[in-house]
């Protein structure tokens, strides 16, 4: 998983947006990852759409996300709202 690791390493301590198999999104600072794509995100929040309105729920200082549940990881910084 060379390029994947390279991609994630370049994004360390950056805000990333993780889409999960459950249909939810989690945004947080990428603090660490391993070869199974288990992720540790700092100052993480869950992004939900509730009756058409975007809301975020704080998940705490650090969250461990299991790699098996990850669909995609993107860099929200370049995403223009």
């Amino acid at each position: 998983m060379p390029d994947t690791a390279a991609y994630l390493s370049k994004n360390m301590r950056e805000d990333v947006l993780v889409s999960l198999k459950t249909g939810f999104w989690i945004r947080g600072k990428l603090e660490s990852f391993d070869r199974h794509l288990n992720l540790i995100l700092g100052d993480a929040e869950e992004l939900i759409v509730d009756k058409g309105e975007r809301k975020s729920i704080r998940l705490g200082k650090r969250v461990l996300v299991r790699g098996d549940m990850v669909v995609a990881i993107s860099m929200p910084k370049e995403v223009k709202e």
Copy 2:
């Protein structure tokens, strides 16, 4: 899974909030874990939302949660209600 183990080790005997593939959440004291993310939680309770109201169901002195069912593990302590 170096960082994941380091993260969990730092949280031993702390309250953690585990989100499961079933859509439920379990809160309990992290007593042990293994490399498959099988977790043993102490004084565990299941958190459900029933008709918009938050409820908790006690699950007993100790609960073993299979790692394969874990979506994310977070530290509720820093989560401000």
Copy 3:
């Protein structure tokens, strides 16, 4: 799976409550387990909620539950109804 095995060994011949991926619960005496968390439960019964009412269905003297289907195993003894 050291701690998991230790946890289960301590609970041998005790009543355990097993939550399954199918959404059902099975209660029975823990008679044996293996490293895949395949379980053999004695005097097992399935716990269901039927129109808000708790019911149990006897499953026979012994039931083998496949580990892959297990979500969580808890000790009902300490669960105060």
Copy 4:
């Protein structure tokens, strides 16, 4: 899978009730099994509940059930209807 094999060996040529991930149940005489819990059942029938009524559909002299689809295997003999 020592105990699991021991448990199944004791039940050879006995009627067993197999609950599947599909939500169906199959009843038949346990003729053989392997370490993946692939089962061969003799004189098997599928048990369904149709508008509250229990029905059984004959599946033929022998049926091979894939282990990956098994949720639980129990001994109906001791199950009092």
Copy 5:
């Protein structure tokens, strides 16, 4: 998978009924299988129930069915309609 292979070998060139995880059934002549239970069926047809009526859709001279999708394989010959 000794017995499973023995069972399937005995049924070579016989009509078998394969139930799939998708909920469909495929009937065809067992032409070959491998240890993953990948099957090749000859003159295969898909059996569906459409508004209570049994229908069959021809699938062609030969169909390869992925073993991972198989729930059960039975011998329709002995199934009395």
Copy 6:
């Protein structure tokens, strides 16, 4: 996977009909496959039924289909519409 490979090799550059776990069907010329049943199909189109009407959507000159998503592969040539 000897016979499966033999079966697919005989069908190289033939039109095949691939049923997917998503419930969709893709038809295309079999250009290559590997032991995981990853397939490359040429001039592929997706077959859907929209309000009872059969429609096809062109997917481009070449499509790679992941083997893990394949339910069955059949030879439409012998399927009489």
Copy 7:
């Protein structure tokens, strides 16, 4: 996975259309892939159909898509709208 790698290598820096198990489609420039079909796509956007209308949501400069979630990868360039 020889041909699959060859196919993807030929499409480096080309626009590809990736269909995911979640039912969504992501379009982007193929920047890298590995043997698990983990993909890195540049200038990626998610394609959705909202009340019959095709919309796209920008996902940022680079997106990592987990191979396990991929259903199919096609070359939209040859797809005539």
